[in-house]
């Protein structure tokens, strides 16, 4: 993406160009500008008179060639540009067309083919800025387009040739978050031959998928299909798992990141622990297990579940009473070390894949659900642990109040999601897992159970999902479509049975008396996602998920080159979509790691050391830690880390000495543009 200089504060008035950039023109000629006005099918030409624009451009000084053409971005159009450069000896090119965000790199490559420095190309956006927004006023639109072209030409006259900055690349990657998306990203990169560090916050990789019973729509056993992948990650010679760890600091830029990771103490030496579990047997202390959604317990020294990778046990000092029975049980393996300290390591990588997944909303504060108050109201993930054969009840679906199998269950959809007061978005996978639960119950207990689904819209897109919905309907699950804001759950204090009430779309009341309720609670951004985003320099949307570079065509890139997104942290995804997203991010990262040098666009801040007073204002203005004051001889002078500079221009605006310039966004160039549009605009 071309980095654009931030808009200068025009209120401050044009700055005096105290250090006017030399008019650089190759071969010591004056500027010879060619202007190509794009018609963009009818996108531009139906509103703007492109012929008029071309003939107007021709009259501008230094413009030696101007034409209107249908698609200059097409291969034919590009050939014409190359030919014109050669024939007319053009040394500047302006294309008046669409947004530079999309097409500037294309035209830069095009002019390079004609041996012209790509930074001697300028784009005038007459589509988004004029034809699209002034559809109903072709005359004014044309006049505005003229101004835009005139400004572009004014800047083009002052463009200077620039050279891309080359950066070396560390051919290693880091994957932050070891859920199913991260696992796939790591395995793909490792298989391509890159060293991968997988940093995981919890004790084990696997994420939520490792906690699920079955997966929709095939009803495959979740851990049976993820387990082998987890083991592959653990065994892969190119992957190093750093579990039970936190990311503390991220420095550097694409190709050369340095990440500080803190390995939290497990009080068990990973190299010595065989995962045999003898310490666990000896341990007298139990505490509620998160992996069982607190329905069951685990020992103070244990792994969260049997298939954990790594299987290294962890001592939870919050509960451990330090009786050292585990030390006795471990014996000659000597894997237990109560004096372990947190360890910080710096890891150098060329690319980072962020796959920290999501969290689950606790519906305690939605009082109508009765969650936390009524014993037999469960969340979906709790239900998942209940129905799982390896779960705390051994796969028995039983009520919390009396341990009995319920004869009727209601599933309540969209609890927290699709709610403008909570989470406006759709959590995307709840419909399908509810169908899964409903089908599993019906197929397990047949006539022995009544299953109700209180839903609003059933979202069963993607392969095999609609068929699964049909299967659920055929199996006898009762689907009740209700309004989302009229639902309520009440409990009979005697039996602790529940009554679900709602209202259909046409206003009729509906009701079901059931013995258990399962809530499809919203999936929400991972705890700490915002903090990690700050460390990584990537933006977070108002929904709390990371923002990709471009929602349609660049779904894994972030605004920070070299950092990629995988899985649900970018937006909620089910398993197949997360797997694909993880592999896509791996491919993107490989495209970086596979290069020998990384070319950085030369639009980075330049410091005129003679003018710099070393006041450090730029340091605090810079959001990327890219400019630092250093000692040069006896003076303090600002220095730019080119790899980090994003070319935003904030330092340049902040500098009281006008010592910092942005190449091709210099004061002189911008003033020239302003003058072009303000002084002679009225005449044409």
């Amino acid at each position: 993406m071309p980095r654009k200089a931030a808009q200068k504060d025009t209120k401050a008035g044009p700055r005096k160009g105290r250090h006017i950039a030399k008019k650089s023109s190759p071969k010591d000629e004056g500027p010879r500008i060619g202007v190509f006005v794009c018609e963009c099918g009818s996108n531009i030409s139906s509103v703007i008179n492109t012929v008029e624009i071309a003939s107007y451009a021709k009259k501008l000084s230094n413009v030696v060639y101007a034409t209107n053409t249908n698609y200059p971005c097409s291969s034919q159009g590009q050939k014409e540009i190359v030919k014109a450069i050669k024939d007319e000896k053009l040394n500047r090119v302006v294309v008046a067309g669409c947004s530079p965000r999309l097409y500037e790199p294309v035209f830069q490559r095009c002019v390079s083919q004609a041996d012209l420095n790509p930074w001697l190309f300028e784009m005038a956006n007459i589509r988004e800025f004029s034809s699209y927004c002034h559809k109903n006023d072709p005359k004014e639109a044309t006049r505005k387009a003229k101004d835009i072209v005139k400004m572009a030409v004014a800047k083009a006259r002052l463009l200077e040739p620039l050279k891309s900055i080359e950066m070396p690349i560390t051919k290693k990657a880091m994957v932050i978050g070891g859920g199913i998306a991260g696992i796939n990203a790591a395995l793909d990169l490792a298989d391509m031959g890159f060293k991968v560090y997988m940093v995981e916050k919890t004790e084990t990789i696997g994420g939520y998928m490792a906690l699920l019973d079955k997966t929709f729509p095939t009803l495959d056993c979740s851990i049976c299909i993820e387990g082998p992948k987890m083991v592959d990650v653990g065994r892969h010679p190119n992957i190093e798992i750093i579990s039970y760890a936190d990311v503390l600091k991220v420095e550097g830029s694409v190709g050369n990141f340095r990440v500080r990771v803190r390995k939290n103490p497990r009080y068990v030496i990973a190299a010595n622990c065989t995962g045999c579990g003898e310490c666990r047997e000896a341990c007298p202390i139990e505490y509620p297990n998160y992996a069982d959604m607190y329905l069951g317990v685990r020992k103070a020294i244990s792994a969260p579940f049997g298939q954990a990778v790594p299987l290294t046990h962890t001592i939870n000092k919050d509960y451990c009473i330090e009786c050292y029975k585990c030390v006795d049980a471990c014996g000659a393996r000597q894997a237990i070390n109560f004096d372990q300290k947190p360890e910080e390591v710096d890891i150098n990588v060329g690319a980072i894949i962020v796959s920290i997944g999501y969290d689950m909303y606790n519906p305690k504060d939605m009082e109508w659900t009765g969650y936390g108050k009524f014993a037999n109201v469960f969340t979906a993930l709790e239900f998942e642990r209940l129905i799982l054969a390896a779960g705390p009840t051994g796969g028995k679906v039983v009520r919390a109040s009396d341990g009995q199998k319920p004869h009727s269950i209601a599933f309540i959809q969209c609890v927290g999601s699709r709610d403008i007061n909570k989470y406006e978005y759709c959590s995307s996978f709840c419909c399908m897992y509810t169908l899964k639960h409903a089908v599993m119950l019906k197929e397990k207990y047949r006539e022995g159970i009544d299953v109700y689904v209180f839903y609003n819209d059933m979202r069963s897109n993607f392969k095999g999902y609609e068929e699964f919905f049909n299967r659920a309907q055929k199996s006898g699950v009762k689907f009740i479509r209700v309004k989302l804001d009229k639902r309520c759950i009440a409990e009979d204090p005697q039996t602790q049975n529940l009554t679900v009430t709602g209202e259909t779309e046409d206003g009729k009341p509906v009701q079901a008396n059931v013995e258990m309720v399962v809530l499809a609670n919203a999936a929400i951004p991972q705890v700490g996602a915002d903090k990690l985003a700050e460390l990584l320099g990537i933006p977070v949307g108002k929904d709390g998920f990371f923002i990709e570079c471009q929602p349609k065509i660049r779904p894994t890139d972030t605004e920070n080159p070299g950092i990629f997104l995988a899985g649900a942290c970018q937006g909620l995804k089910d398993i197949p979509y997360s797997v694909a997203h993880g592999s896509a991010a791996a491919a993107q990262a490989a495209a970086v790691l596979g290069k020998d040098k990384w070319l950085v666009e030369p639009l980075v801040a330049r410091v005129n050391e003679d003018l710099c007073s070393g006041c450090r204002i730029c340091e605090s203005a810079c959001g990327y830690h890219a400019i630092m004051v250093e000692k040069v001889g006896k003076r303090d002078v600002a220095k730019v880390a080119e790899g980090l500079c994003r070319g935003c221009g904030v330092c340049s605006s902040a500098c009281p000495m006008d010592a910092i310039t942005m190449p091709n966004y210099s004061d002189v160039q911008i003033v020239a543009q302003i003058k072009a549009v303000s002084t002679e605009a009225a005449k044409t």
Binding site: A282, C283, P284, I285, E286, Y287, P288, M293, Y294, L295, G296, V297, A300, D318, Y319, I321, E322, C323, Y324, K325, D328, N362, K364, Y371, G372, A375, N376, V377, F378, T379, E382, L386, P392, T393, V398, A400
Partner: protein, 309 residues
């Protein structure tokens, strides 16, 4: 159902609970049995138990200190249950009184060495009507026909052939030895499970202060001097629980130290730390030394086939 953690505090009891779908952990502190001593708070490995001194109201007797268990720190290990001299704390899992720390030998059990010889109950002995200061002894006489007669007085009926039946609630017994003296000689034999020392420095006591005596649950362990102005301690009956120490308003007026705890054999870091806090680092080291010399002796015995002294 999400994990529920509950703490309730009533006049009768303090209860803490973890309610999980498949398990239920409960700690009950019986406030009638609790004397506000320091033992549980010293033994607790998570430092979850606080001893809160209660404000004294002028002209009234001192109130025993309040024991408060912090829900966020408690892990329901049951060590307080094991160590409470008065059996005032009970930790259960799914309603059953099974303590994993004892079962897994992570913590010892206190040895309440109480021997009862009802046949020694001499005929015609006139004792106190209250043989146990905390009413743990139930005395019944059985007629020659086998019929029980409950007596409020302990004077044995003159009729020949009556047998004494003595039920002791050992679980709640602090082993104070008072019954050895209130019952006919040879009937009760009690060994204390905590040894120690107690001394009161009357010169440091505030004039007229009887706070320690007010809270002491063992009749006779503390008593007023003949001029009824100062409190004295009687080592024979003191169980070294520290209820007195918890309320003493002056530093150094009441000195209490524990030197040993009679317990079942155990090899556990938790016990070592508990013992260190209950007694002192020196006493704990002594026990460790004894243990290791015992083990050394055992290993010699194994090698040479006989005990070597």
């Amino acid at each position: 159902m999400p994990l529920k953690t509950v703490k309730k505090d009533t006049a009768e009891a303090q209860t803490l609970e973890w309610i999980l779908q498949v398990q239920d952990y409960k700690l009950t502190l019986d406030k009638n049995r609790c004397v506000g001593c320091q033992i549980c708070s010293l033994a607790c490995p998570k430092e979850a138990i606080k001893v809160q001194k209660q404000p004294k109201i002028q002209g009234q007797k001192a109130k025993k200190a309040k024991i408060d268990v912090e829900l966020a720190k408690c892990n329901f290990c049951g060590i307080c249950d094991v160590t409470c001299p008065y059996g005032a704390i009970r930790v259960t899992m799914n309603g059953e009184h099974l303590l994993s720390v004892v079962e897994k030998k992570s913590f010892p059990q206190l040895i309440r060495d109480i021997k009862v010889n009802p046949e020694n109950h001499a005929p015609g002995f006139v004792g106190t009507s209250r043989p146990c200061p905390i009413d743990l002894i139930k005395l019944t006489f059985i007629t020659p026909e086998g019929k029980p007669i409950e007596k409020t007085s302990v004077s044995v009926p003159a009729e020949v052939g009556f047998r004494a039946k003595i039920d002791v609630d050992k679980e709640h017994c602090p082993c104070c030895r008072v019954c050895e003296f209130t019952m006919p000689p040879g009937v009760m034999h009690v060994r204390k499970f905590i040894s120690g020392r107690i001394s009161i420095h009357p010169e440091r006591c505030p004039e007229g202060c009887t706070d320690c005596l007010d809270v002491c649950p063992i009749t006779g362990a503390l008593y007023l001097s003949d001029d009824r102005r100062k409190v004295n301690a009687n080592e024979i009956f003191c169980v070294y629980c520290g209820a007195c120490k918890a309320v003493c308003p002056v530093d150094g007026a009441l000195e209490l130290s524990r030197t040993a705890v009679n317990h079942t054999p155990v090899h556990s870091g938790t016990w070592n730390k508990a013992l260190e806090r209950l007694t002192s680092p020196t006493e704990m080291t002594k026990e460790l030394k004894t243990k290791s010399s015992f083990r050394a002796r055992e290993s010699v015995k194994r090698r040479v086939g006989r005990a070597v002294e």
